[in-house]
């Protein structure tokens, strides 16, 4: 193992600049002569725009322009495209409404972008925005998911009767129905996967800088996938040639999915920059982020599971209504379908599963992927069902899981919901987690808590997740309008140092460290001599970016392929220099040698020869040492694990405190254990937020965003968390060269279910069987108030 190679907790190279304020974020960038944009957003959930009068605003100090939807239409600027087409259960395509970058006639959610005011300063733009007179004709809005499909509910889109975007199904309902008929017991849940607002530390920002001299667009933006933005914006929105557009995503302060999508502001600043001949900058303030970043989750689900007399799962039936918001965000349609229903087998052998998903339009902010994207929702459904199944059968929650796990020797395992798992060891993971969490000592801890007036609960979640969504041909066959490969380029410089260019994008994950470790290990180059470059479409080969915990599994694999090409070429050069047969050359720890001899050349010597080809097999080999690769995975990867949460409820107030949390995750090969631990920590914090604190609230009548700031939207704080006990029990991925699975989302996927199961466990003695997520103090208090039993 190299000193900074695979398996070493190398300190993150990014942290020096992040922690000392030397990061370079989009808002840190200022272009000479730049103007500032302020977006005027709809104050109404649903309104007709009767008239916009910008004449006063245009006279405001420093104002350069006010543009509206009419200008967008005049310039034939296209709408934001959706990247996934879901076909419904009858073979019909989903309803795919337009998504204009500035709306011309009608607003469809609070925060919808109506006009842009551009001025010399940000303050002037904002001042002038108040002078724009917009005459709205307010309409009744469809807000709540439960009411959206009811007769008479206002339509978000005329072309979507009942506000249905698609009505999709997976599985064989007849087989499932038959299984339910033979069931000894049936367990049911009726649950809410609460809507979340992403809240990355850095709000979104964009600078459009049209270069008049060359006719090129430069976009600086807070994106997780700059090439995807370049493709979508150039081909569908601006309709300009892709080679004339450069998208640059410098340091990005967190994304969690919300920065995957192509947003209107990116196109607006580019278009306006060309029109005005000056750079145009826009930075969201926090309030704007709340009402314009795509939200996450928002499902209503009824699910049931059929069991035999021994507690074996026979079949599962899941009916979900998923909120799309007012428009289809870039990947929205695939989240409650292919990233959700395909996970419903969990870690269990349930032979038959049927799932129906209705995607619904409402007059709310679009909903798309948010850390976990579909998998936390699925995990919550499955793991709550499993605990309910334990309750109705009287089995211990660990025991019912043991009886239903896919056994270690059953891989590759074909689930009834399309996917085939490659590896896993669910029972061992459970046993390790139970031991770490001192499961057998729980009764004593519960008694001790009771003495202090606290109700203690323990909850498990033995979840599965799917990362590195792939292969391209398969995702294409189910509606993806993109490939899901990744690119990598490895450049060995003449003196032997290395630059790695990756199509992945790091916005907090630490790729600059992890990917350098891959190269240190494989090429035997000193860690300090490796630089990782990402986020600039002018520098790096076309890449798909970072989301779905795909960077290492897909992007890392592309780099391995590129490095293997470097090594293969190096062997040829070494064979020439050492006057040996290529087949006799070995490469190890950065050195090419003739097997069994002490004749050798270092990688630096080889690259020197490649760039100064005086003594070089020039007839057979090109000079230089630089290789590129694209990697298209053959399958998803399937991380999994066991999370054990322990909570205490204050009986008098209903406050739930997470007091202990154990995570044993299977993430495949670990490159940097410290980064893995950090990813799990962050994910668990967000999962705890979903379980206990966070919940986007709209006024059900007016569609106003009630949780529009930190005064009302509860983010997790350090004091809400105990010290997390995080470890891994890994089985290797069998189909990528590194054996890696992915760790970016596991924390957020497994933990909400574990915590909510713990809450249910704590209130079970009172006969309470349902507490809604998030388990806020008043909800828990009310559940206890109306409890059927007095307990004890």
């Amino acid at each position: 193992m190299a000193a900074s190679g695979i398996g070493v907790s190398v300190r993150r190279v990014e942290d020096f600049r992040f922690l000392t304020g030397r990061g370079n974020y989009t808002d840190d960038i200022n272009r000479p002569n730049q103007l500032h944009a302020h977006i005027l957003r709809s104050p109404h959930a649903h309104a007709k725009i009767k008239k916009i009068d910008a004449s006063k605003a245009l006279k405001g100090p420093g104002v350069a322009a006010v543009f509206t939807g009419a200008d967008i239409e005049k310039d034939q600027i296209g709408g934001l495209p959706c990247g996934w087409l879901v076909t419904d259960r009858n073979g019909q395509p989903m309803v795919e409404p337009p998504h204009p970058v500035l709306v011309a006639d009608r607003t469809r959610h609070v925060g919808d972008q109506v006009a842009v005011v551009i001025a010399e300063t940000r303050a002037q733009a904002r001042d002038a925005a108040e002078l724009v007179k917009i005459d709205y004709d307010e309409q009744v809005a469809t807000v709540g998911l439960a009411d959206a499909t009811k007769k008479g509910a206002p339509l978000v889109w005329d072309q979507a009767p009942g506000n249905i975007c698609y009505d999709w199904a997976l599985g064989d309902s007849a087989v499932v129905d038959a299984a339910f008929k033979t069931a000894a017991k049936v367990a049911k849940v009726d649950i809410v996967n609460n809507r979340l607002i992403p809240n990355a530390m850095e709000p979104r920002a964009a600078i459009g800088d049209y270069d008049l001299a060359k006719g090129n667009y430069n976009l600086y933006t807070t994106s997780q996938n700059p090439h995807v933005i370049r493709l979508l914006m150039s081909a569908y929105v601006l309709k300009v040639s892709e080679h004339k557009v450069r998208v640059y995503s410098p340091d990005v302060g967190g994304g969690f999915g919300s920065k995957i999508y192509h947003y209107a502001e990116e196109a607006i600043v580019c278009w306006a920059s060309r029109k005005l001949g000056r750079p145009v900058k826009w930075t969201a303030d926090r309030s704007e982020s709340f009402m314009s970043d795509a939200h996450g989750r928002d499902h209503l689900t009824k699910a049931e599971i059929a069991l035999d007399a021994g507690g074996k799962f026979l079949a599962m039936r899941v009916v979900t209504v998923a909120n799309m918001g007012a428009y289809l965000s870039t990947f929205a349609p695939c989240i409650p379908t292919y990233l959700y229903a395909l996970l419903l087998a969990g870690t269990y052998t349930t032979p038959a599963i049927f799932c129906e998903v209705k995607a619904i339009f409402t007059h709310t902010v679009p909903v798309d992927a948010y850390r976990g994207a579909g998998r936390p929702e699925a995990t919550y459904v499955v793991e709550r069902l499993v605990d309910e199944a334990a309750r109705v059968t009287g089995l211990d929650v660990a025991e019912i899981r043991r009886r239903n796990f896919i056994p270690r020797d059953a891989f590759p395992y074909q689930t009834p919901v399309v996917v085939q798992y490659d590896s896993g060891d669910y029972q061992s993971t459970l046993e390790i987690a139970l031991k770490t969490a001192d499961y057998s000592g729980f009764a004593a801890r519960r008694a001790e808590s009771a003495k202090r007036g606290k109700l203690r609960g323990l909850g498990l979640s033995t979840y599965i997740e799917a990362c590195g969504i792939a292969p391209s041909a398969v995702v294409g066959s189910v509606g993806a309008r993109a490939g899901l490969y990744e690119s990598g380029l490895v450049r060995v410089h003449p003196t032997g140092s290395v630059t790695i260019l990756t199509g992945s994008h790091s916005h907090g994950q630490g790729h600059e460290t992890t990917f350098a470790q891959l190269a240190a290990e494989r090429l035997g180059v000193d860690f300090d001599k490796i630089e990782v470059v990402h986020g600039d479409t002018d520098k790096i080969p076309f890449g798909m970016g970072t989301y779905g915990s795909r960077s290492l599994a897909v992007g890392g694999s592309a780099l391995v392929k590129a490095m293997d090409k470097i090594i293969a070429k190096g062997k040829k050069i070494a064979a020439h220099l050492l006057e040996a047969a290529e087949a006799d050359i070995e490469f190890k720890d950065g050195t090419f040698s003739i097997a069994g001899t002490d004749k050798k050349k270092t990688l630096a010597e080889i690259s020197g020869a490649a760039y100064v080809p005086h003594n070089y097999p020039i007839n057979e080999l090109e000079p230089g040492l630089e290789e590129q690769a694209f990697y298209d995975p053959t399958n998803f990867t399937f991380p999994g694990g066991c999370h054990v949460a322990e909570i205490e409820i204050d009986r008098d107030t209903g406050v739930v405190q997470l007091v202990s949390f154990v995570a044993v995750d299977d993430v495949g090969r670990v490159i940097n254990p410290m980064i893995v631990e950090g990813q799990v920590h962050g994910g668990v914090a967000q999962g705890m937020g979903q379980a206990l604190l966070e919940g986007c609230v709209y006024d059900q009548k007016t569609g106003q965003l009630v949780t529009g700031s930190y005064m009302d939207y509860t983010m997790p704080r350090a004091s809400d968390l105990p010290t997390l006990k995080v470890s891994t029990h890994n089985t290797l991925c069998t189909h990528n060269p590194l054996g890696v699975k992915g760790v970016g989302e596991v924390g957020a996927i497994g933990s909400p279910a574990a915590i909510m199961n713990a809450v249910h466990n704590a209130v079970a003695p009172f006969g309470v069987t349902h507490v809604e997520m998030p388990a806020t103090p008043e909800r828990v208090w009310r559940a206890l108030q109306s409890a059927p039993k007095a307990a004890e």
């Binding site: 107030t653 609230v697 806020t776 103090p777 008043e778 208090w781 009310r782």
Partner: protein, 265 residues
């Protein structure tokens, strides 16, 4: 934020004059209420008159059974003051639970009382201890100072200069924080004073209020059990996404019980 004129006053008198001559003048102390509202463009003062540095508004002193706190004294200074901790530990404890360290390092007692946010903490201590709010014009008893939602007895041109708190025999504050903002969803201050028991409730209603029932019960027996079955009416209490009026009413009892237990411990 809209443009405004900034003044740094040299005395309270000058501050008052500056305000008088402005079309809409606002005093600025810690700025932790005023500046956020200006940033949101909800407040639009023509002139901002900074009084945070005025010597006459600073300082903490304890003498003759009275704790005196200058209006521009920051929450953090009250929280960490050895004198306050000794004389009225409940007051230091309350100040130490306002907002977060950044807020406590800027926000002032005068600003908090002038603003009288229904979810603010200090009003509970001022009413609960029967303190006196001193201004450049007069001294106002706590019972006459708070007038409901963001309303106080302060008149135009009136500046809070200091607050005097009588030292109580026993006192404690229990706060149930709003999970998002950490202001008081419900906060109860109980004090056993020379003049009798006082119970002040913040967060629950449109403004801080006293509970006569609880005061009576605790007057008879200053024990947690004495208030365990006393429920304030939920009729005029606040209701929002964090807590219904019923739940708030329930929390008042729970916090009162806990405050009494804490005061006795």
């Amino acid at each position: 934020m809209y443009a405004f004129n900034y003044h740094r006053a040299k005395s309270v008198d000058e501050a008052v004059k500056l305000q008088k001559s402005a079309s809409e003048g606002s005093f600025l102390a810690g700025g932790h209420t005023l500046i956020p509202t200006m940033k949101q463009r909800l407040a639009k003062p023509s002139d901002v008159i900074d009084i945070s540095g005025l010597k006459e508004l600073q300082g903490i002193s304890v003498a003759g059974g009275t704790v005196t706190i200058g209006a521009a004294t920051r929450h953090g200074d009250v929280a960490n003051s050895p004198e306050v901790k000794k004389a009225i530990p409940a007051l230091a404890d309350l100040a130490g639970h306002i907002g977060d360290p950044q807020v406590r390092n800027r926000g002032t007692i005068g600003g908090s009382l002038a603003n009288n946010d229904p979810a603010a903490d200090y009003p509970a201590a001022v009413l609960g201890l029967g303190a006196t709010v001193h201004t450049n014009k007069r001294a106002i008893e706590a019972d006459k100072y708070f007038k409901g939602l963001f309303e106080t007895a302060l008149e135009q041109g009136e500046v809070i200069t200091k607050v005097t708190f009588p030292v109580a025999e026993k006192a404690a504050y229990m706060k149930f924080p709003n999970p998002a903002s950490r202001y008081a969803l419900v906060g109860v201050f109980v004090a056993k004073t020379k003049g009798g028991v006082r119970v002040a409730v913040t967060g629950a209603g449109p403004g801080v209020f006293r509970s006569a029932d609880m005061e009576k019960a605790l007057g008879a027996s200053f024990e947690a059990d004495a208030v365990a079955s006393i429920k304030v009416s939920s009729k005029n209490l606040n209701s929002d996404i964090h807590a219904s009026a019923d739940y708030r009413a329930h929390l008042v009892t729970v916090m009162a019980k806990r405050a009494v237990a804490k005061a006795n411990s």
